[in-house]
Symmetry: C2
Subunit: 276 residues, 2 copies
């Protein structure tokens, strides 16, 4: 994830902006555009690319507009054009033959540097997304790409399965152990974990036990995670970590995502999380 480290050190912060824009709340200036959602997202990128280290569009927000929405996601990813690290938040995962298709869609089709994956189907559902199998599946993907696998998520439902006890450890811990093992075994340290900011004590324990594991941390802001406790936890390890904020930066009290106002809110967040 050299690309990521470069973007983090250039900005001096680990801020990832989640581009989860509500199509029902598009500022008037963008409503006349052929594809208002994509046009707004592109304008927000233009206004913030020197501030944030990474962008994270979520496929759901584009798929809800069908093929037009997917075309908008393609336009957005092209528009980012390596000005920041690009994580496509897709939470995919399927049998190997099918995961290889998703890898093509997300890495080749959209140009993602990294993606998110769901772990439930196990190793052979994750493997087609990563370097060593790229030659094998013929997808022709570049070697710098990675994947963040869901471990401990920021929502209430995390407790339904992720926290079930397996021989004295929660399920999410087994996922983290597997990621760590796969990183050493075949994934060349390109697998990271999604760990929510809403459980700071668990985040601390995770960072301490897996200090090198790349982390993607959602849940700060609207979902209730606290930035200061995330910072303290991250200081316990050294793997590249990104803190994602979506609604709290996109939408101010007026509930409108005007690009310049988004920039101001992103700057305020960036100031609070400058690298030590």
């Amino acid at each position: 994830m050299q690309e990521l480290i470069t973007h983090i050190s250039q900005r001096g912060n680990t801020l990832c902006l989640g581009l989860d824009l509500d199509p029902e709340r598009i500022p008037a200036a963008f409503q006349g555009h052929e594809n208002p959602l994509a046009a707004l997202a592109c304008a927000i990128v233009d206004a913030t690319h020197d501030v944030v280290a990474a962008y994270k569009p979520n496929t759901a927000f584009f798929e809800q507009e069908g093929s037009r929405g997917w075309a908008g996601l393609e336009a957005l990813c092209r528009h980012i054009d390596n000005r920041a690290f690009l994580i496509v938040d897709a939470k995919r995962g399927d049998i190997g033959n099918t995961s290889a298709r998703y890898a093509r869609a997300l890495f080749q089709g959209l140009g993602a540097h990294a993606i998110t994956l769901a772990p439930y189907m196990g190793r052979d559902s994750v493997e087609p997304f990563l370097p060593k199998t790229r030659e094998r599946n013929g997808a022709g993907l570049a070697p710098g790409m990675g994947a963040y696998v869901l471990a401990l998520t920021s929502n209430a439902g995390a407790q339904d399965f992720q926290m079930l006890d397996i021989g004295g450890k929660p399920l999410y811990w087994r996922v983290l152990e597997s990621l760590d093992a796969w990183n050493k075994d075949w994934a060349d340290h390109r697998l990271g974990a999604v760990v929510g900011a809403t459980r700071p004590t668990d985040l601390e324990a995770i960072r301490r036990a897996f200090p090198a594991l790349p982390l993607l941390i959602p849940g700060v802001g609207a979902q209730g995670g606290d930035l200061e406790s995330v910072r303290r936890a991250l200081d316990l390890g050294h793997g590249p970590a990104l803190v994602n904020v979506s609604r709290d930066i996109l939408y101010g009290p007026d509930a409108v995502a005007e690009p310049e106002a988004v920039r101001a809110r992103a700057l305020a967040y960036a100031a609070r999380m400058e690298c030590a």
Copy 2:
């Protein structure tokens, strides 16, 4: 899932055809088409809709062709036009706000009768897909729709997490118990489970313990599942069950998916699985 039961009883079988077509193996007659993959899939639907009870396109096979692929998936779903039960195999699942977007994409946008979901993020990642929350999320979805949640999948990686022991039972059993509870609690029996045909003894135990739970059973054919043992297991319960076959019907020994040959192979499968 009344719609499903109607299609099953009209055909006299529980065959679901997985429309996982390889874009690199399109018959010559379809290669000149603007969207060869979708054109071939539509022709296969025309040749088989009186034979199979359900179709299951997987989003990965369309996403790999980007927005053009998604437009092809839209065209295919429109073309099926309620002539069979339509399952969009998407394996989605995200925080509630985002799952509601996926529900809109799959149910409203594509017209799916049912979809597949991944369980890892828990109850609040599943709930926005189902009836009682439809009014709440404003997606305006019809009340007949359902979701199949991954429980015990057909791939080798199923053993990595799904089979981990939790207080004497495997994780997938806890997922099944949750689905059963959610069905009674809020999902109106519209949640089913994905259980692979590749583990027939487990399938028998599942059918015996959850006889009313709707099942979607992949893994017959190319993945190694045996149709006869699936039939025996299904006889132990009464919930609507669909047996999915993809590659073994789509591709004969010549590795080409000619619609009339696909029809012949579908008929042969249907004959082997007629309802008693």
